[in-house]
Every structure is written in C-alpha cells, then in structure tokens.
Symmetry: C2
Subunit: 344 residues, 2 copies
C-alpha cells in the first residue's frame, strides 16, 4: 500500500471562470499524493475521460441542473478506469469501471461517495471508449431523449444535429432501428459521409458548406416529426419552420450558444409550436438513471450484432485537456471526444 | 322573402395587408344586398362579434394554422346572431346561434358551408356575449389548453398572462376550480384588482406598473408549474426563469409580437426547459372541437352556480370594428372584447 500512498496524482483544476471560450488561464495543473484508502473506499486509475459540451456549463458560476465546479476544484469529468486498490468488497483490483473520476490520473473514492460517483463495472470487451459513448452518458441521453421524450413512430422523419457526435450517433442509429427516416446535420463532408455511409442515415446536411434550409427542404419533403437538438441557435430556428403537426423537439443542448458572451439567441420561430401543436421539451439524462441497465442491455446487443456502431475521437494525455475541450466547440472532433489519460 | 333579398348588408372587408399595427386604410366598408337563400341555407342577423388577437394573424399573407383572409374578402369573425330566415330543417327562425359570421350585419350560410361555419345553437339565457367568451372559442382555448396540455394538479402554481382577457379569465378560473394556486399577469390596477377580488385569483401582477420579475418572486415562492402564455416576448422570458422541474408552458399566443415589423423575439431563456425537464407546447383550439360540448356543459354549470364569471367589454357598432381591434393590442379592453352589431 505504501507505494500507492506515494503515487503522485496529476490533476486539472479550475483556476478561474471563463468568459466566452475557455483559455489556458482558466486551468491549473496540480499534483498531489494519492493518499490513504479507508475502509469501503477504492482507488481507480483513470484510463479515458469523456470530454463533453456540458463541461462548459459546469465552469460557470450558478447552479444549472448540477452544481458548478468550484474554483480550485478538480474539473468534473466522467471516465473509465481500472481499480488498482480496493477496500470495498463490491470491487476487486483489476475491475474496469465507469465513474465520475474527474480530470486526474487517479481517483480515490471514499465509501461515502461510492453512490454519488455513479460507479459501475463495465465489460471491457465492448471497447473501453464505447462506455463513454453509446454505452455512456451521451448514449443514455440519446436513447432516453429519443425514446421517452421523442416517442418515435415507424415512418416518421427524425432530424438530429451534431449527428456525428456522441449523442447524435446514438439518436440517429436508435431512430433507424425504430423504423424512422433519419436526417443528420453535421459540420463537414467527412462527418456527413460517415453518418450516411457507415451508419446508414438517409441523408446528412453539412451545415458548414450547405444551405441548411435547402437541405431540410430536400431531405424532409414531409416535414420533421422529431428534432433532437444538440446545437440551438440558427439551426433550431430553421428546423422550427419545417416541423409537422404534433412534432416533438427534444432540447438536449445548445453547443452553438455555450460560449456566448452576449445573450443566448432564443428561437424566434417558436410560434411554429403553436401553429403545429408541437412540443419542445428538455431532457436531463440523470432522470433515467434507474433505467440505464435497460438501455445498456439493448444497445450492447446491437453493438455485438453489428447493428450499431460507436466512433470515438481520441486525444492523448491529461495535459491536452484544455485543447481537447476546445475541439468540441469548433466542431473539430469526429465522433465522441475522449481524452486518453493512460493506456491501461 | 322579398324584403330579405333587398336588405342591405354592411360589411367590413380587408382592403390591404397591414405592416405593423393595422390602420383605417387596411379596411374597406362595403354594402351589398343580402341575396337569395337556397334550399338548406339560412340567414343570420349578426348581433355580436368576437374581437380576437388572432385576427391580426389572419390579415397577414401566408398560411398559419388557418388560411389568411384574402384582400377584398369580408373579414373573418366569429359571432352570435339570430336566425331570421331558414330553409334548413335544423334551424328555425328565432334560434340564437354561434357561428363564423364575418364582420357584417347579415350572414347568409349556404347548405354546403353549414359545417364549415361551425354553427351551433346557443342558450341565450346565459348571456349572448358569454358565448363569445367563456363558452366561446376563447373559453374552449383556455379550457383545453389548461386541462389537456397543462395537466394541472391540485396545489400547483399556475401563472396566466392576459389574465383579464377572454382566455385568461377562463384559464385562471378553471385552474382554481381544479385546486391550483393562480397568479395572473395583466395591465393596469383595475384589471388586476378585478381578477383578484372578483374572480378570486391568489395574486395578479400589473406588468404596466410593477416589476414582473419581482412579482413572480413574491407570488410564486415555489416556482411556476404551469404557465399559460398569451403574450410572448419579455414576460415569457421572465417566467422561464421561474419554472419548476417538469413545468408545462402552454403557447396560446404572443400578442406582444403580432404587430412587430421586425423579427419576433424568441425566448432567450428557453434552455430553462432543459435544466427543468420542462415542456413548451402549442395549442390550437379547433383540435378539440369534438369535445366542446363537454367543456360547455361543465362551464355552463359553473356559471349557473355562480362559481365562474364571464366579463365582456362591449364596443358598439360595426363601424367601430377598426378601432375596436386596436384596443386589443394596446390592452385597453377589460374582459373579452365584443363588438355589438345589433341589439336583437
């Protein structure tokens, strides 16, 4: 145990709150010894961290659906890791787990925090990073947002923005499996080609190089029954002009607005909800925590059968955390963005 | 019959489409003989017309939830009248009816248009104008919007804007009857006093003289579970900051935005829907047409028992149509705005 106590734990801590896009100055790299494991606790070596658009919101002061990260704290991050020391009978050394690890090399979870960490064992044979993508929080978000809030019916047209992202790829693939026509919106030809050719979407609009209004007109001739919105802003407003009677819009995020230094742009076409008797509803994945096992069982099955795919974009090294986060906001990541902190 | 044929029918026709607030120039006063009643048709003398914010939308080019009024056409308007000639066995001379009469003194409904006119007989003992208010389209809108979309539960806090208006008074009174706390938003002390003292709302915020944000804070200490929105704009945005987890926002209209010459202001705080897993849904009353009798039976009962009230603001004379319409948009009307075209 003594060599563990002495392990140095490198960490990314929040140094200050950003205004607009985060910069290097908002981060502080620290290190401290791992410390003692008490009875009931366990120590996890971080292998991969999930890089999420939601992180930008956690950096702001003021409570949203979750408390903000405090100045000086280790940045909040979900991840997968390997148990390297355990005083808890439910976890053995060598177990692979998914948990709220934080942006650090090692995570010591005390007995009292086991539940709060959301820790659960994972099957590494499905690919470690898959557990941060289709089988992780983004996957759960897409699965429950689409199925519970969206209530898709066979033959309906589903549009999803951020289509090549972690949530988007889950939403689009699940929608196809439920018999829907699926049109993605993504940035760049490579991403659009991938969701159409690899995942099988019916079409994908490249918002960086195409006219989204024209694209919707062309690919959604009968209108949009379900829109799963990850981006907000102008694209939400355009889709609102194409929704059908009784349409459902799932508000999952608004990545186009997270780094605004001015007021958020509200959807000017929201009265389309009135004309179309449509509904716009927010989703927070934690509400479905009890049913994660159902979603994981269903989607693991699809993955094993090759009926569903999972693509990750992997950046190496904890020191790359600040730059990796920015990739999310300029749309550079191709697939679920993952920071690999250690090999095994 | 010959004297009927020769009756001159004064009418208000749409002369041009307004940009912003309608002016006298957008209207054309015309008159023409009533004409022949064919088999199956009937002739109705207009007594009262319903003056509705939605009229502003019907004056615009382009289809919304209903076709626009064409240039030169008699302006669309619902109203109550008395059958003065009938070639239809279902209606007798002397019957009082509610129908889409148009802004004119007489309405000749041909057999083929009977259904489309939405005509039904009314009980005049409940008050003719009540049939344009709580028992008319606004009442149906409030009833089904609140109950079907809002799904109120006893003890919940319901906020309604345009509280002294036709829809607002129905929503607030129905919400109280369903056991909710009700907070109105209205313009001016007289309206606020009326909804609190006469109708029994728990509170009413005077948006013309009070800080709405402060008012919501004071009167909705546990947040807003249901917001019935008739106004849009700044007030919708303020209420969004106060909604509770799982809140329902019913989008019924946006009177603050109907005369905009610039783009509609979208709700900048719409991401509150995400944080609060809340839903914003539009309602168009026609969808509930089959169930109007249920609502009318229930609310007639409350009216007869004195458990519900109905207040109208009556303007006299068809020639007042253009000015009367403007009263809706500067908030001058106190209660459902009705244009009395004839006494009986």
């Amino acid at each position: 145990m003594s060599e563990i106590k002495a392990l140095m734990n490198h960490q990314v801590r929040l140094a200050s709150r950003p205004s607009g896009m985060p910069t290097q100055e908002n981060w502080h790299f620290a290190s401290e010894p791992v410390g003692n494991i008490q009875a009931g606790g366990l120590l996890i070596k971080t292998l991969c961290l999930s890089m999420d658009p939601a992180m930008r919101g956690w950096m702001n002061a003021g409570k949203s659906y979750i408390e903000p990260v405090q100045i000086g704290e280790v940045m909040r991050a979900g991840g997968v890791g390997r148990v390297i020391a355990s005083e808890n009978p439910l976890f053995a050394v060598g177990d692979y787990v998914n948990a709220g690890l934080g942006a650090q090399e090692y995570c010591l979870i005390e007995k009292a925090n086991i539940k709060r960490s959301g820790i659960f064992k994972i099957d590494p044979s499905l690919g470690l990073t898959t557990w941060l993508n289709v089988l992780g929080m983004p996957g759960m978000t897409g699965y429950f947002g689409l199925l519970e809030v969206g209530q898709p019916k066979p033959g309906e047209t589903v549009v999803v923005s951020g289509a090549a992202g972690a949530v988007g790829q889950t939403v689009g693939q699940m929608a196809m499996l439920k018999g829907c026509r699926v049109v993605g919106i993504a940035g760049g030809k490579a991403k659009c080609d991938w969701v159409v050719k690899e995942l099988g979407f019916d079409a994908c609009i490249d918002y960086k190089n195409e006219d989204v209004r024209e694209g919707l007109k062309q690919h959604c001739p009968d209108g949009v029954d379900i829109y799963f919105d990850n981006v907000g802003g102008e694209i939400l407003d355009l889709v609102l002009t194409k929704i059908t009677r009784g349409a459902r819009i799932i508000i999952c995020g608004a990545i186009s607005q997270y780094n605004n230094t001015t007021a958020i742009k509200g959807p000017a076409n929201y009265l389309s909800l009135l004309v179309n008797r449509a509904r716009m509803q927010g989703i927070v994945v934690f509400d479905y925590a009890e049913n994660y096992p159902v979603a994981i069982a269903e989607m693991s099955g699809y993955l094993k059968e090759g009926r569903m795919k999972s693509r990750e974009d992997i950046v190496m090294g904890l020191e790359s955390f600040p730059d990796a986060l920015l990739k999310l906001f300029n749309g550079e990541n191709f697939g679920k963005l993952v920071l690999q902190v250690a090999k095994d």
